[in-house]
């Protein structure tokens, strides 16, 4: 067994206490694969994005009070310019937003750029039945595959599988990030401060000579490590023993935090966050740049990037399309940052949301919660995967049974749920059968989403 695997196993079983102090540190080699979960918080509308239905008055009779004549969308499907002729991938046309030409054009440009630039590495999964229209439950279902509490997010599972002892193994600045204690979450917002953390004694408050052959701080660290080993051995309370094990494991890992801001600087020199496309959502782009830098620096394996503005109970068109446009621009920035870091070929990006929105407009021109949704997966560059739509909702934006191989409607098929999507993702990421994942089984049949 490789040392890294050995440490992972120990971490998972809470047995790191038995690691001898004299052993060299857990070598935090850069993971060979990275994962980003991009969460559109609040419940996005797939029919305004990757599963458009057009303005056909589909709910005219069922919902006579609905605005827009009971249509699912306020714009027609545009098969001329909003459809890839090879894959048939379809994306929404842009309604007039805020009665403003510039805003409408901007959003249209964001959509066009995304679906043309990234079509070839994109798998769109439509017609997913989340089985809930509650925010918390929907988030949990989308990102863990389970409606019930207790399942870690896919990104937590991934980080735990790759190397839980990395200093920022799982970066999360929000969204569903339950870890089931498999790995610690790191909230990272200030790269400048992180840089200063790389060496706690960088100011030389404790003497250290230039070649580091004399280093008072290293004596302190050594004493600290010996102390924690003694504490582990002598601790009688299971709770404290577990905490000591966690602390010991994290301290054992290499701290390559210094590389983070170095890499971030390099990335932003190529793709500045404040000079990219329409300069929208700086918060998202700063998160994206930091995540790409942390991956490149080898100190993180996975990340949550979360953004909001999708819970459009009122004035849906004016808000939802802008939020979606900014989301696509943000993900485009993330891709460019990953390219600049040279790791786009090792990174999978999954984009999803709590659930979908109603296929009709309410009295406030808004759309309420609806359990049917979509997920978009961006494969690593060069993986040969993408340019594909799997699954389908019906013409009234309801879930339907699908053939597990083709994803096409099939009366003898099954409903596609987050459990199926997560199972397929686990397999795609190569973490479905490891000792950690099997503790959180997704007991459903396979859909060949990525084959």
């Amino acid at each position: 067994m490789k040392r890294r695997d050995f440490i992972q196993l120990l971490a998972a079983t809470g047995m790191t206490a038995s690691l001898p102090l004299t052993a060299s540190k857990a070598h935090a080699a850069a993971p060979d694969h990275f994962l980003v979960m991009v969460n559109a918080g609040g419940g996005w509308d797939p029919t305004s994005l990757c599963d458009p239905k057009g303005n056909l008055g589909q709910y005219l009779s069922e919902r006579p009070d609905a605005r827009n004549g009971g249509s699912i969308n306020s714009v027609a499907i545009n098969t001329e310019t909003k459809r890839n002729p090879v894959s048939g991938m379809l994306w929404s046309d842009t309604p007039r937003i805020n009665n403003n030409d510039a805003t409408t054009a901007r959003v249209d440009n964001q959509y066009q750029n995304f679906f043309t630039a990234y079509h070839d590495k994109l798998t769109v999964i439509n017609g997913v039945d989340n089985g809930t229209n509650n925010h918390n439950t929907g988030n949990r279902a989308t990102w863990s595959g389970s409606l019930e509490m207790g399942y870690p997010s896919l990104a937590a599972l991934f980080a735990a599988s790759k190397n839980p002892s990395l200093p920022m193994a799982y970066i999360s600045n929000g969204g569903y990030d339950f870890t089931a204690s498999l790995v610690s979450r790191a909230r990272a917002s200030s790269a400048g401060f992180i840089d200063r953390l790389a060496d706690p004694n960088s100011e030389r408050y404790h003497y250290r000579n230039s070649d580091q052959s004399t280093d008072v701080y290293s004596q302190i660290k050594q004493a600290q490590a010996e102390r924690i080993a003694r504490q582990q051995g002598g601790e009688a309370l299971p709770l404290r023993r577990q905490q000591l094990n966690q602390l010991f494991t994290v301290r054992q890992a290499d701290n390559d935090l210094a590389k983070l801001s170095e890499e971030k600087t390099l990335i932003e020199a190529v793709v500045p966050t404040n000079d990219h496309m329409n300069n929208r959502d700086q918060g998202f782009k700063r998160q994206a740049s930091l995540v790409a830098a942390a991956f490149k620096a080898g100190i993180a394996a996975s990340a949550n990037i979360s953004t909001g503005g999708f819970d459009t109970h009122g004035n849906h068109d004016n808000s939802q399309y802008q939020s979606l446009g900014d989301l696509l621009e943000g993900v485009a920035y993330l891709q460019e940052a990953l390219e600049a870091a040279g790791i786009a070929d090792k990174t999978t990006v999954v984009i999803g949301s709590d659930f979908g929105r109603t296929p009709y407009y309410n009295s406030g021109n808004g759309k309420d919660h609806w359990p049917v949704t979509s997920v978009m997966v961006m494969h690593p560059t060069g993986s040969g995967k993408g340019g594909k739509v799997f699954g389908a909702s019906n013409e009234k934006f309801r879930a339907q049974t699908l053939n597990r191989s083709t994803g096409q409607p099939d009366a003898n098929g099954q409903l596609l749920t987050p459990a199926h999507v997560n199972l397929a993702l686990r397999k795609e990421l190569g973490i479905d059968s490891n000792t950690i994942a099997v503790r959180f089984p997704l007991l459903v049949d396979d859909f060949d989403i990525f084959s």
């Binding site: 709910y59 089985g131 019930e148 610690s184 401060f193 790389a198 706690p200 004596q219 935090l257």
Partner: protein, 792 residues
Amino acid sequence: MNTFRLLAIICFLSALAGCQQEYGGDVGGASVPVNLDFGNYNAEGARLYGEQCAGCHGVEGTGTEIGTPLVACATCSSISALAEEIAITMPIGKNAEVTDCDGACATNVSEYIMYAFNGLSLYQATTSLGGVSALPLTDTLRNATVQLAGRLPTDAEITQVTNEGEAGFSTVMARVMNEDEFYVRLSEIFNDVFLTDKYLRVNQFNGALNLLDGDDYPNRTWYDAAYPSLDREIAENIPQDDINDDNRGCANVYANDAVAREGLELINYIVRNNRPITELVTADYTMVNWYSQKVYDAELINPEDSFRELPEGGNPCLAYSSYYSDATLTHDQYDFKPARITRSLEYTTGVPHSGILTSAMFLNRFPTTNTNRNRHRSYMVYDMFLDTDILEIEGSRPEDAIDTSSANPTLDNPACYTCHTVMDPVASAFQHWNGQGRRIPSTLDASSWSSNGIESAGIAGKKLPTSGGTSQFENMLQWLGQEIAQDPRYMRAITRHLYKGIIGQDLLNAPGDNADPDVVTAYNAQRGILSNIGQAMVADNWNVKTAVTGLLLSPYYRANTVDTNKVVEASHIGSTRLLSPEMLQRKLTATLGFDWYELRANDQDNRIMFGGIDSDSVTDRINEPSGLMVAMQERMAVEMACRATAYDFTKTRTPTLNERRLFKHVSPDIQPEDADGFELTSNVEAIKKNIQYLHSTLLSENLPLNHAEIEATYQLFFSTWKLGQTMLSNPDDYDPEPSTYLEYTCRARWDRENNDQGLDSELRIDRDENYVIRSWMSVITYLLSDYRYIYE
């Protein structure tokens, strides 16, 4: 509280903690019936339970996703009380296959529940904690005062606890819980629930004031008019202009933050004045300080009251920012008083206060929409005040969650109704409050509320009276608040919040029917003990302090060791947790006298990186450290040791007066060896004695002088000192050259406990000729990064 009641409660809590530093399992006490009537096995009750109740409450009464546990349930105080509750409320839902369970059914089922789930099993469960040994009470006191009051216990307090045991502990804690710092912690505990600090200035500019409607509260920005910006062209106005600028800015901050904090200040007021915590949902008043009273034009309940002012020359604004040095405001921003909003608002006259339920902060933090129809608010009410997670009911949802064929699925479709029949009546009770928390009676604005398609206001099967002399239509939330306060689940909700705050963990989830018996035992024990603590609180007029003391004396807080032969499922026992940024700051202040500037309240990014929350997008605290957090801890240890070590040596240490926090037993000239390399025995003893003191005061670790840990820490001191001697003897051999001067930041030139003001020159310490100070710096760094320091 009368003396008898106090003694009775202390007696109960003592029993809970165990007299032999081991949990005895005695759940008796004055506030809890000593001889609970657990009844006898009732065969008919068992049959009915299996038929009508087990589906939701579990075969073993431990609850399921859709039903609360019945072990130590809030109404399980007697067979008759439980039977009454069952008769009124059970079974929930409109399932035609189940008839109401009242009369003999209720009595039989009640007897079965008491016997099967609250007699034998509870007794077994609580006695099973006999394998848990408790920390000495003096250590518990130290942990409690650091956690709850941000200070170490005084010698007198330690003596009182040593002499009087649990009774002394309760007396000391009663005093501690009157200190201001306790209310800082209490606000943190309840903000983790209500998250209203989202609206503080540190998180949002005018986050709270902007939520108030300008038509309702035309004076919400009163400070603009009171302290206008003057014309700077007029020379003689310039000083006044500076004054106005600072007053305006400061009053703006304090008015905003007081409005943001009105819910948390309500809790503080209730607890500080030993009022029942039921007022959290029933109070017919809100809380204002001098700054927010003007926002609301609120009337103080006691018109004779006046707000506290700082002594002559005091400037309250400096507490927020040193930029406000020209401010002339005098009122204490921390002085809150109960008041009512009685003025004419656009749609109504005054606010019918009902505790936090009618606070615009609460209503905005948990907003609604025309289509959500207050259901989110209802969900939060159930979760926060009734210990019920409505979402758990979703577990039984059918595969197709979409129903577009029923006219009103939430009323007509049984799959929807099960949940909505619980949720919607409470949602309806919020109908007079719009999405922005503004009071607009539903009868005045048809667009804001329609009674169609949703159940009328009520709770737990009880309908709100809407006609006749008893009509509560105008005061729905006041009625709801009273109902919540009388609901048995309220006690459990409050004790749950306190448990999370004091112990640092969520309560155990209800085990499934096939759960491991040890898991069931652990769950039952926790539930039983929490129930007793809750009942002690209720018996003491719902005094939160009683519940806090109960939690501090419980095995969950005091556990020191666990005999896993006796307590098999023990991973939840103990209260040690990773310190939050706020808790770390308090501990640093308690032990060193000042905190770490990197984690001060205005540096929200760093606090979040350290696992904190912003009450907005980040609401979940991290309790398992990442490498990033460990790096922050290590940085903290180095920086704080640098700032604290030489500084502490500037404080007076004489045989009659010792003001040192860290180095009570040594001076900077106490070296372990003489110039010829011979050990100076008395010096070494003094050094070790000081190390022993540091282990006690910083780590709450009381060790004998000859303990291996004392020796290990001494060796770190000694090796640093030895290395220092070598370097200072041969400075040319090193690059950079070692100096007898301390690193500039580590010198004692600033009064760390007084905003880093310059120290008098005769007090300053710049040099460390013999490397003793730097050796102590090593020791302090080592101890501040220790598990026992960064966890508590």
